[in-house]
Protein backbone atom coordinates (compact mmCIF):
# COMPACT_ATOMS: atom_id res chain seq x y z
CA UNK A 1 0.00 0.00 0.00
CA UNK A 2 2.86 2.35 0.84
CA UNK A 3 4.14 1.76 -2.69
CA UNK A 4 0.77 3.05 -3.92
CA UNK A 5 -0.26 -0.08 -5.80
CA UNK A 6 -4.01 0.40 -5.57
CA UNK A 7 -5.29 -2.75 -7.30
CA UNK A 8 -2.84 -5.08 -5.59
CA UNK A 9 -3.64 -3.59 -2.17
CA UNK A 10 -7.39 -3.91 -2.57
CA UNK A 11 -7.17 -7.43 -4.01
CA UNK A 12 -4.96 -8.44 -1.08
CA UNK A 13 -7.42 -7.03 1.44
CA UNK A 14 -10.33 -8.88 -0.20
CA UNK A 15 -8.33 -12.12 -0.04
CA UNK A 16 -7.46 -11.53 3.61
CA UNK A 17 -11.07 -10.84 4.51
CA UNK A 18 -12.22 -13.97 2.67
CA UNK A 19 -9.66 -15.98 4.61
CA UNK A 20 -11.14 -14.61 7.84
CA UNK A 21 -8.37 -12.19 8.84
CA UNK A 22 -9.12 -9.71 11.59
CA UNK A 23 -10.54 -6.58 9.98
CA UNK A 24 -9.20 -4.35 12.73
CA UNK A 25 -5.74 -5.78 12.13
CA UNK A 26 -6.06 -4.93 8.44
CA UNK A 27 -6.97 -1.34 9.29
CA UNK A 28 -4.04 -1.11 11.70
CA UNK A 29 -1.71 -2.28 8.93
CA UNK A 30 -3.23 0.27 6.57
CA UNK A 31 -2.61 2.99 9.14
CA UNK A 32 1.02 1.93 9.42
CA UNK A 33 1.29 2.15 5.65
CA UNK A 34 -0.07 5.70 5.82
CA UNK A 35 2.59 6.56 8.39
CA UNK A 36 5.21 5.22 6.01
CA UNK A 37 3.76 7.38 3.24
CA UNK A 38 3.85 10.44 5.51
CA UNK A 39 7.43 9.68 6.36
CA UNK A 40 8.36 9.53 2.69
CA UNK A 41 6.50 12.80 2.13
CA UNK A 42 8.55 14.49 4.85
CA UNK A 43 11.71 13.21 3.22
CA UNK A 44 10.54 14.67 -0.12
CA UNK A 45 10.39 11.24 -1.72
CA UNK A 46 6.64 11.48 -2.02
CA UNK A 47 4.57 14.50 -3.03
CA UNK A 48 0.95 15.62 -2.93
CA UNK A 49 -0.31 13.17 -5.61
CA UNK A 50 1.17 10.32 -3.56
CA UNK A 51 -0.65 11.45 -0.40
CA UNK A 52 -3.83 11.67 -2.39
CA UNK A 53 -3.38 8.17 -3.86
CA UNK A 54 -2.59 6.73 -0.43
CA UNK A 55 -5.77 8.21 1.00
CA UNK A 56 -7.77 6.77 -1.91
CA UNK A 57 -6.35 3.32 -1.19
CA UNK A 58 -7.17 3.71 2.51
CA UNK A 59 -10.72 4.71 1.58
CA UNK A 60 -11.00 1.64 -0.62
CA UNK A 61 -9.70 -0.65 2.11
CA UNK A 62 -12.07 0.89 4.68
CA UNK A 63 -15.03 0.30 2.37
CA UNK A 64 -14.10 -3.39 1.97
CA UNK A 65 -13.47 -3.91 5.67
CA UNK A 66 -16.31 -1.89 7.21
CA UNK A 67 -19.12 -4.50 6.86
CA UNK A 68 -16.94 -6.94 8.80
CA UNK A 69 -16.26 -4.66 11.74
CA UNK A 70 -18.32 -5.26 14.88
CA UNK A 71 -19.31 -2.43 17.20
CA UNK A 72 -17.26 -4.06 19.93
CA UNK A 73 -14.12 -3.71 17.86
CA UNK A 74 -14.22 0.04 18.16
CA UNK A 75 -11.37 0.80 20.54
CA UNK A 76 -10.71 3.86 22.60
CA UNK A 77 -12.78 6.97 22.94
CA UNK A 78 -14.56 8.05 19.83
CA UNK A 79 -13.70 11.58 18.87
CA UNK A 80 -15.13 13.80 16.19
CA UNK A 81 -12.61 15.13 13.71
CA UNK A 82 -13.55 17.98 11.42
CA UNK A 83 -11.54 18.68 8.30
CA UNK A 84 -12.16 21.76 6.26
CA UNK A 85 -10.69 24.71 4.40
CA UNK A 86 -11.03 28.43 5.04
CA UNK A 87 -14.11 29.72 3.26
CA UNK A 88 -13.53 33.38 3.87
CA UNK A 89 -10.02 34.80 4.16
CA UNK A 90 -11.30 37.81 6.18
CA UNK A 91 -12.51 35.66 9.03
CA UNK A 92 -9.01 34.28 9.69
CA UNK A 93 -7.11 36.90 11.67
Amino acid sequence: MADLKENESLVLVIELIQRGSDPVGILEDARSAIELVEDRFEKCEYFIPDLMMASEILKGISEIVRPFLRKADARGKRRKVIIGTVADRKSVV
Binding site: F47, I48, M53
Partner: protein, 417 residues
Protein backbone atom coordinates in the same frame (compact mmCIF):
# COMPACT_ATOMS: atom_id res chain seq x y z
CA UNK B 1 16.27 67.05 -30.96
CA UNK B 2 15.05 64.71 -28.29
CA UNK B 3 13.51 61.35 -29.12
CA UNK B 4 9.81 61.12 -29.87
CA UNK B 5 7.61 58.91 -27.70
CA UNK B 6 7.36 56.38 -30.54
CA UNK B 7 11.16 56.25 -30.77
CA UNK B 8 11.35 55.54 -27.05
CA UNK B 9 8.73 52.84 -27.63
CA UNK B 10 10.88 51.17 -30.30
CA UNK B 11 13.86 51.35 -27.91
CA UNK B 12 11.88 49.69 -25.12
CA UNK B 13 10.70 46.86 -27.37
CA UNK B 14 14.23 46.34 -28.71
CA UNK B 15 15.63 46.20 -25.19
CA UNK B 16 13.34 43.28 -24.34
CA UNK B 17 13.95 41.52 -27.68
CA UNK B 18 17.72 41.81 -27.12
CA UNK B 19 17.48 40.36 -23.63
CA UNK B 20 15.42 37.40 -24.91
CA UNK B 21 17.79 36.81 -27.85
CA UNK B 22 20.74 36.80 -25.40
CA UNK B 23 22.23 39.91 -27.01
CA UNK B 24 23.45 42.48 -24.51
CA UNK B 25 20.88 45.33 -24.28
CA UNK B 26 21.76 48.83 -23.01
CA UNK B 27 20.33 47.93 -19.60
CA UNK B 28 18.25 45.30 -17.82
CA UNK B 29 14.66 45.64 -19.08
CA UNK B 30 11.80 45.86 -16.56
CA UNK B 31 8.47 44.22 -17.28
CA UNK B 32 6.48 43.96 -14.05
CA UNK B 33 3.54 41.57 -14.47
CA UNK B 34 0.88 43.85 -13.00
CA UNK B 35 -2.51 42.29 -12.48
CA UNK B 36 -4.80 44.35 -10.19
CA UNK B 37 -2.03 46.73 -9.03
CA UNK B 38 -3.03 49.40 -11.57
CA UNK B 39 -6.56 49.39 -10.11
CA UNK B 40 -5.36 49.87 -6.51
CA UNK B 41 -2.75 52.42 -7.63
CA UNK B 42 -5.27 54.51 -9.51
CA UNK B 43 -7.79 54.34 -6.64
CA UNK B 44 -10.46 52.16 -8.23
CA UNK B 45 -11.76 48.85 -6.90
CA UNK B 46 -11.32 45.56 -8.78
CA UNK B 47 -15.11 45.63 -9.25
CA UNK B 48 -14.89 48.97 -11.05
CA UNK B 49 -11.94 47.67 -13.07
CA UNK B 50 -14.02 44.73 -14.34
CA UNK B 51 -17.31 46.54 -14.91
CA UNK B 52 -16.28 50.04 -16.04
CA UNK B 53 -13.89 49.69 -18.93
CA UNK B 54 -12.99 53.40 -19.15
CA UNK B 55 -11.84 53.26 -15.52
CA UNK B 56 -9.77 50.15 -16.26
CA UNK B 57 -8.06 51.91 -19.16
CA UNK B 58 -7.50 55.04 -17.08
CA UNK B 59 -5.86 52.98 -14.31
CA UNK B 60 -3.49 51.23 -16.71
CA UNK B 61 -2.59 54.42 -18.53
CA UNK B 62 -1.75 56.13 -15.24
CA UNK B 63 0.32 53.16 -14.06
CA UNK B 64 2.23 52.85 -17.32
CA UNK B 65 3.00 56.56 -17.59
CA UNK B 66 4.03 56.84 -13.93
CA UNK B 67 6.25 53.74 -13.83
CA UNK B 68 7.36 53.45 -17.48
CA UNK B 69 7.80 49.66 -17.80
CA UNK B 70 9.53 48.48 -20.97
CA UNK B 71 6.46 46.44 -21.88
CA UNK B 72 3.12 46.12 -20.08
CA UNK B 73 0.64 43.29 -19.44
CA UNK B 74 -2.44 45.43 -20.00
CA UNK B 75 -6.11 45.81 -19.03
CA UNK B 76 -7.09 42.48 -20.60
CA UNK B 77 -5.90 40.82 -17.38
CA UNK B 78 -8.93 42.31 -15.60
CA UNK B 79 -11.44 40.37 -17.75
CA UNK B 80 -14.91 41.79 -18.38
CA UNK B 81 -17.44 41.37 -15.57
CA UNK B 82 -20.48 41.85 -17.85
CA UNK B 83 -19.32 39.11 -20.26
CA UNK B 84 -18.83 36.64 -17.38
CA UNK B 85 -22.20 37.55 -15.93
CA UNK B 86 -24.06 37.13 -19.21
CA UNK B 87 -22.61 33.67 -19.63
CA UNK B 88 -23.18 32.86 -15.92
CA UNK B 89 -19.59 31.66 -15.58
CA UNK B 90 -19.17 28.93 -12.95
CA UNK B 91 -15.40 28.68 -13.17
CA UNK B 92 -14.68 32.07 -11.67
CA UNK B 93 -15.81 34.07 -8.69
CA UNK B 94 -15.19 37.72 -9.24
CA UNK B 95 -15.78 41.07 -7.46
CA UNK B 96 -19.50 41.68 -7.51
CA UNK B 97 -20.19 38.01 -8.06
CA UNK B 98 -19.14 35.87 -5.12
CA UNK B 99 -16.19 38.08 -4.13
CA UNK B 100 -16.35 41.46 -2.46
CA UNK B 101 -15.64 44.49 -4.68
CA UNK B 102 -12.16 45.05 -3.25
CA UNK B 103 -10.56 41.75 -4.21
CA UNK B 104 -9.55 40.17 -7.47
CA UNK B 105 -11.24 37.19 -9.08
CA UNK B 106 -10.63 33.56 -8.17
CA UNK B 107 -10.62 30.42 -10.27
CA UNK B 108 -13.05 27.71 -9.17
CA UNK B 109 -11.47 24.41 -9.98
CA UNK B 110 -13.64 21.30 -10.11
CA UNK B 111 -13.92 18.02 -11.96
CA UNK B 112 -15.78 19.32 -14.99
CA UNK B 113 -14.77 16.25 -16.97
CA UNK B 114 -15.44 12.86 -15.36
CA UNK B 115 -12.75 10.26 -16.15
CA UNK B 116 -15.28 8.31 -18.27
CA UNK B 117 -15.31 11.14 -20.82
CA UNK B 118 -11.61 10.95 -21.73
CA UNK B 119 -12.35 8.91 -24.86
CA UNK B 120 -15.03 11.35 -26.00
CA UNK B 121 -12.64 14.24 -25.55
CA UNK B 122 -9.78 12.51 -27.34
CA UNK B 123 -11.96 11.49 -30.27
CA UNK B 124 -13.52 14.90 -30.87
CA UNK B 125 -12.35 17.70 -28.55
CA UNK B 126 -14.47 20.44 -30.15
CA UNK B 127 -17.63 18.42 -29.83
CA UNK B 128 -16.90 17.54 -26.22
CA UNK B 129 -16.13 21.17 -25.41
CA UNK B 130 -19.32 22.54 -26.97
CA UNK B 131 -21.79 19.89 -25.83
CA UNK B 132 -20.33 18.75 -22.49
CA UNK B 133 -17.90 21.33 -21.18
CA UNK B 134 -19.47 24.68 -22.06
CA UNK B 135 -22.82 23.65 -20.50
CA UNK B 136 -21.00 22.91 -17.25
CA UNK B 137 -18.89 26.05 -16.99
CA UNK B 138 -21.37 28.56 -18.44
CA UNK B 139 -24.83 28.37 -16.89
CA UNK B 140 -26.33 30.28 -19.81
CA UNK B 141 -25.12 27.61 -22.23
CA UNK B 142 -26.51 24.62 -20.32
CA UNK B 143 -29.03 23.92 -23.11
CA UNK B 144 -26.13 23.07 -25.44
CA UNK B 145 -25.97 19.71 -23.68
CA UNK B 146 -29.17 18.85 -25.57
CA UNK B 147 -27.63 19.35 -28.98
CA UNK B 148 -26.69 16.28 -30.98
CA UNK B 149 -23.22 16.09 -32.59
CA UNK B 150 -22.40 18.57 -35.31
CA UNK B 151 -22.88 16.24 -38.23
CA UNK B 152 -26.20 15.10 -36.82
CA UNK B 153 -27.31 18.69 -36.60
CA UNK B 154 -26.30 20.23 -39.79
CA UNK B 155 -25.83 18.07 -42.65
CA UNK B 156 -27.04 15.16 -44.67
CA UNK B 157 -26.20 15.28 -48.35
CA UNK B 158 -26.63 18.99 -48.93
CA UNK B 159 -29.50 19.76 -46.61
CA UNK B 160 -29.55 20.37 -42.89
CA UNK B 161 -30.75 17.27 -41.12
CA UNK B 162 -33.63 17.05 -38.67
CA UNK B 163 -31.11 17.67 -35.90
CA UNK B 164 -31.07 21.34 -36.85
CA UNK B 165 -34.47 21.60 -35.21
CA UNK B 166 -32.80 21.06 -31.83
CA UNK B 167 -31.36 24.51 -32.19
CA UNK B 168 -34.89 25.85 -32.50
CA UNK B 169 -36.10 24.81 -29.05
CA UNK B 170 -36.82 27.75 -26.72
CA UNK B 171 -34.00 26.86 -24.28
CA UNK B 172 -31.37 26.52 -26.99
CA UNK B 173 -32.55 29.74 -28.61
CA UNK B 174 -32.14 31.49 -25.30
CA UNK B 175 -28.65 30.05 -24.92
CA UNK B 176 -27.72 31.42 -28.34
CA UNK B 177 -29.19 34.79 -27.37
CA UNK B 178 -26.97 34.84 -24.26
CA UNK B 179 -23.97 33.92 -26.37
CA UNK B 180 -24.76 36.73 -28.79
CA UNK B 181 -25.19 39.20 -25.95
CA UNK B 182 -21.86 38.10 -24.45
CA UNK B 183 -20.19 38.34 -27.87
CA UNK B 184 -21.48 41.88 -28.39
CA UNK B 185 -20.24 42.91 -24.94
CA UNK B 186 -16.93 41.20 -25.61
CA UNK B 187 -16.65 43.10 -28.89
CA UNK B 188 -17.12 46.34 -26.95
CA UNK B 189 -14.42 45.29 -24.46
CA UNK B 190 -11.96 44.18 -27.12
CA UNK B 191 -12.54 47.33 -29.20
CA UNK B 192 -11.77 49.38 -26.11
CA UNK B 193 -8.61 47.33 -25.55
CA UNK B 194 -7.52 47.89 -29.16
CA UNK B 195 -7.98 51.68 -28.82
CA UNK B 196 -6.06 51.59 -25.56
CA UNK B 197 -3.16 49.77 -27.21
CA UNK B 198 -3.10 52.29 -30.07
CA UNK B 199 -3.11 55.21 -27.66
CA UNK B 200 -0.32 53.77 -25.53
CA UNK B 201 1.72 52.96 -28.64
CA UNK B 202 1.71 56.65 -29.57
CA UNK B 203 2.93 57.39 -26.04
CA UNK B 204 5.81 54.92 -26.46
CA UNK B 205 4.53 51.79 -24.74
CA UNK B 206 3.72 48.36 -26.19
CA UNK B 207 1.97 45.37 -24.66
CA UNK B 208 3.97 42.33 -23.63
CA UNK B 209 1.63 39.81 -25.27
CA UNK B 210 -1.84 39.41 -26.71
CA UNK B 211 -1.99 35.68 -26.91
CA UNK B 212 -1.82 33.08 -24.18
CA UNK B 213 -1.87 29.31 -24.32
CA UNK B 214 -1.56 26.43 -21.84
CA UNK B 215 0.89 23.71 -21.01
CA UNK B 216 -1.03 20.69 -22.39
CA UNK B 217 -1.12 19.03 -18.94
CA UNK B 218 -2.60 22.20 -17.46
CA UNK B 219 -5.25 22.60 -20.14
CA UNK B 220 -6.67 19.28 -19.02
CA UNK B 221 -5.72 19.57 -15.35
CA UNK B 222 -6.76 23.15 -14.60
CA UNK B 223 -9.88 23.28 -16.71
CA UNK B 224 -11.30 19.77 -17.11
CA UNK B 225 -10.13 17.18 -14.54
CA UNK B 226 -9.09 19.40 -11.66
CA UNK B 227 -6.06 18.89 -9.40
CA UNK B 228 -7.39 15.81 -7.65
CA UNK B 229 -8.59 14.16 -10.85
CA UNK B 230 -5.29 14.78 -12.60
CA UNK B 231 -3.14 13.56 -9.71
CA UNK B 232 -5.08 10.30 -9.46
CA UNK B 233 -5.13 9.88 -13.26
CA UNK B 234 -1.32 9.70 -13.22
CA UNK B 235 -1.74 6.49 -11.18
CA UNK B 236 -5.06 5.06 -12.32
CA UNK B 237 -5.10 5.74 -16.05
CA UNK B 238 -1.66 6.93 -17.19
CA UNK B 239 -2.10 5.74 -20.79
CA UNK B 240 -5.43 7.54 -21.17
CA UNK B 241 -3.92 10.68 -19.67
CA UNK B 242 -0.95 10.56 -22.02
CA UNK B 243 -3.26 10.08 -25.01
CA UNK B 244 -5.30 13.11 -23.95
CA UNK B 245 -2.12 15.14 -23.44
CA UNK B 246 -0.91 14.18 -26.92
CA UNK B 247 -4.19 15.34 -28.44
CA UNK B 248 -4.11 18.54 -26.43
CA UNK B 249 -0.56 19.41 -27.47
CA UNK B 250 -1.61 20.14 -31.05
CA UNK B 251 -4.49 22.26 -29.75
CA UNK B 252 -2.25 24.35 -27.51
CA UNK B 253 0.17 24.99 -30.37
CA UNK B 254 -2.72 26.10 -32.56
CA UNK B 255 -3.95 28.40 -29.81
CA UNK B 256 -0.56 30.07 -29.80
CA UNK B 257 0.15 30.29 -33.50
CA UNK B 258 -3.19 30.60 -35.26
CA UNK B 259 -4.06 34.03 -33.94
CA UNK B 260 -0.60 35.53 -34.21
CA UNK B 261 -0.57 38.44 -36.61
CA UNK B 262 2.36 39.23 -38.88
CA UNK B 263 4.24 42.22 -37.48
CA UNK B 264 2.39 41.95 -34.17
CA UNK B 265 3.79 41.16 -30.76
CA UNK B 266 5.62 37.83 -31.07
CA UNK B 267 5.46 36.90 -27.36
CA UNK B 268 3.10 34.08 -26.29
CA UNK B 269 2.24 33.80 -22.59
CA UNK B 270 2.19 30.31 -21.03
CA UNK B 271 1.41 30.18 -17.27
CA UNK B 272 2.47 26.87 -15.71
CA UNK B 273 0.56 25.41 -12.78
CA UNK B 274 0.51 21.72 -12.03
CA UNK B 275 4.12 20.74 -12.73
CA UNK B 276 5.65 22.70 -9.85
CA UNK B 277 7.70 21.11 -7.06
CA UNK B 278 5.48 19.36 -4.54
CA UNK B 279 2.65 18.89 -7.02
CA UNK B 280 4.35 15.99 -8.74
CA UNK B 281 7.61 14.07 -8.56
CA UNK B 282 10.46 14.69 -10.96
CA UNK B 283 9.67 11.37 -12.66
CA UNK B 284 6.06 12.42 -13.14
CA UNK B 285 7.28 15.79 -14.49
CA UNK B 286 9.48 13.94 -16.95
CA UNK B 287 6.69 11.56 -18.00
CA UNK B 288 3.53 13.66 -17.95
CA UNK B 289 4.35 17.35 -17.83
CA UNK B 290 7.53 18.26 -19.72
CA UNK B 291 7.48 16.38 -23.05
CA UNK B 292 4.25 17.99 -24.26
CA UNK B 293 5.28 21.38 -22.87
CA UNK B 294 8.55 21.10 -24.76
CA UNK B 295 6.66 20.28 -27.96
CA UNK B 296 4.55 23.38 -27.40
CA UNK B 297 7.67 25.53 -26.84
CA UNK B 298 9.28 24.17 -30.01
CA UNK B 299 6.03 24.61 -31.99
CA UNK B 300 5.89 28.26 -30.95
CA UNK B 301 9.58 28.80 -31.80
CA UNK B 302 9.11 27.13 -35.19
CA UNK B 303 6.37 29.64 -35.96
CA UNK B 304 8.84 32.48 -35.31
CA UNK B 305 7.19 33.41 -32.00
CA UNK B 306 8.59 33.68 -28.48
CA UNK B 307 7.27 31.46 -25.69
CA UNK B 308 7.10 33.30 -22.38
CA UNK B 309 7.08 30.32 -20.01
CA UNK B 310 5.72 31.63 -16.72
CA UNK B 311 6.57 29.02 -14.09
CA UNK B 312 4.77 29.29 -10.77
CA UNK B 313 5.84 27.77 -7.48
CA UNK B 314 9.29 26.23 -7.09
CA UNK B 315 11.23 25.00 -10.09
CA UNK B 316 14.86 24.55 -9.04
CA UNK B 317 14.78 20.77 -9.48
CA UNK B 318 13.30 21.12 -12.97
CA UNK B 319 15.91 23.54 -14.36
CA UNK B 320 17.85 20.89 -16.27
CA UNK B 321 14.74 20.07 -18.30
CA UNK B 322 14.17 23.71 -19.17
CA UNK B 323 17.61 23.80 -20.75
CA UNK B 324 16.51 21.68 -23.66
CA UNK B 325 15.08 24.42 -25.91
CA UNK B 326 16.41 26.49 -28.86
CA UNK B 327 18.93 29.12 -27.85
CA UNK B 328 17.85 32.75 -27.50
CA UNK B 329 14.20 32.06 -28.34
CA UNK B 330 12.54 31.50 -24.95
CA UNK B 331 11.92 33.51 -21.79
CA UNK B 332 11.44 31.70 -18.48
CA UNK B 333 9.77 33.40 -15.56
CA UNK B 334 10.51 32.10 -12.07
CA UNK B 335 8.71 32.49 -8.78
CA UNK B 336 10.76 30.54 -6.22
CA UNK B 337 13.99 29.31 -7.69
CA UNK B 338 17.69 29.45 -6.87
CA UNK B 339 18.36 32.21 -9.39
CA UNK B 340 22.10 31.67 -9.28
CA UNK B 341 21.58 28.05 -10.28
CA UNK B 342 19.01 29.09 -12.89
CA UNK B 343 21.60 31.43 -14.43
CA UNK B 344 24.26 28.72 -14.36
CA UNK B 345 22.06 26.29 -16.21
CA UNK B 346 20.24 28.64 -18.58
CA UNK B 347 22.87 31.31 -19.25
CA UNK B 348 23.55 30.22 -22.82
CA UNK B 349 20.04 29.06 -23.56
CA UNK B 350 17.24 31.36 -22.43
CA UNK B 351 16.36 34.69 -20.88
CA UNK B 352 15.17 34.53 -17.26
CA UNK B 353 12.91 36.84 -15.29
CA UNK B 354 10.90 37.14 -12.06
CA UNK B 355 11.77 36.16 -8.48
CA UNK B 356 11.41 39.52 -6.68
CA UNK B 357 9.17 38.33 -3.82
CA UNK B 358 5.66 39.78 -3.85
CA UNK B 359 5.70 39.72 -0.05
CA UNK B 360 8.66 42.12 -0.21
CA UNK B 361 6.81 44.44 -2.58
CA UNK B 362 3.79 44.37 -0.27
CA UNK B 363 5.37 44.75 3.15
CA UNK B 364 9.08 45.51 2.71
CA UNK B 365 10.80 48.88 2.49
CA UNK B 366 12.10 50.52 -0.68
CA UNK B 367 15.68 49.92 0.53
CA UNK B 368 14.99 46.23 1.05
CA UNK B 369 13.48 46.00 -2.44
CA UNK B 370 16.49 47.79 -3.95
CA UNK B 371 18.83 45.46 -2.10
CA UNK B 372 17.06 42.39 -3.43
CA UNK B 373 16.95 43.71 -6.99
CA UNK B 374 20.63 44.64 -6.88
CA UNK B 375 21.62 41.10 -5.86
CA UNK B 376 19.35 39.71 -8.55
CA UNK B 377 20.96 41.86 -11.24
CA UNK B 378 24.41 40.75 -10.03
CA UNK B 379 23.56 37.03 -10.26
CA UNK B 380 20.78 36.61 -12.81
CA UNK B 381 21.49 39.74 -14.84
CA UNK B 382 25.19 39.24 -15.34
CA UNK B 383 25.97 39.25 -19.05
CA UNK B 384 22.40 39.98 -20.12
CA UNK B 385 19.57 37.47 -20.59
CA UNK B 386 17.54 38.87 -17.69
CA UNK B 387 14.38 40.94 -17.31
CA UNK B 388 13.35 42.38 -13.92
CA UNK B 389 9.93 41.28 -12.63
CA UNK B 390 8.17 40.13 -9.47
CA UNK B 391 7.85 36.48 -8.46
CA UNK B 392 4.12 36.40 -9.17
CA UNK B 393 1.44 38.63 -10.72
CA UNK B 394 1.23 41.88 -8.82
CA UNK B 395 -2.03 42.77 -7.13
CA UNK B 396 -1.26 44.51 -3.83
CA UNK B 397 2.11 46.27 -3.51
CA UNK B 398 3.30 49.54 -2.03
CA UNK B 399 3.76 51.97 -4.95
CA UNK B 400 7.05 53.17 -3.45
CA UNK B 401 8.35 49.61 -3.61
CA UNK B 402 7.42 49.27 -7.28
CA UNK B 403 9.14 52.61 -7.85
CA UNK B 404 12.22 51.29 -6.01
CA UNK B 405 12.32 48.20 -8.24
CA UNK B 406 12.03 50.34 -11.40
CA UNK B 407 14.54 53.01 -10.29
CA UNK B 408 17.16 50.52 -9.11
CA UNK B 409 16.97 48.58 -12.36
CA UNK B 410 17.31 51.71 -14.46
CA UNK B 411 20.28 53.04 -12.40
CA UNK B 412 22.13 49.85 -11.54
CA UNK B 413 21.19 47.57 -14.40
CA UNK B 414 23.16 49.43 -17.06
CA UNK B 415 25.27 47.31 -19.37
CA UNK B 416 26.50 49.95 -21.78
CA UNK B 417 25.90 53.63 -22.39
Amino acid sequence: MGKSPEEFGVEREQRVRDAIALRLPDRVPIVPMFQFFPAFYAGITPYEAMYHYEKAFMAWKKTILDFEPDLYAGPAVFRSGPVLETLDCKQLRWPGHGIDPHHSYQFVEAEYMPAEEYDEFIENPSDWIIRRYMPRIYGALKPFQNLPGILDQFYYYGAPSAGLATMGTPEVQEAFQSLLKAARESFKWVSGLASFVQEMKKLGFSPMFFIATYAPFDLIGDNFRGTRGMMLDMYRRPDKLLAAIEKTTGLTIQMATRRAVAGGIPIIFIPLHKGAEGFMSLDQFETFYWPSLRKLILGICDAGLIPYVYTEGSYTSRLEFLQNVPRGKVMYHFERVDMRRAKEILRDVACITGNVPNSLLISGSPDQVKDYCKKLIDTAGEGGGFVMDAAACIDEAKPENIRAMMDLTREYGIYRR
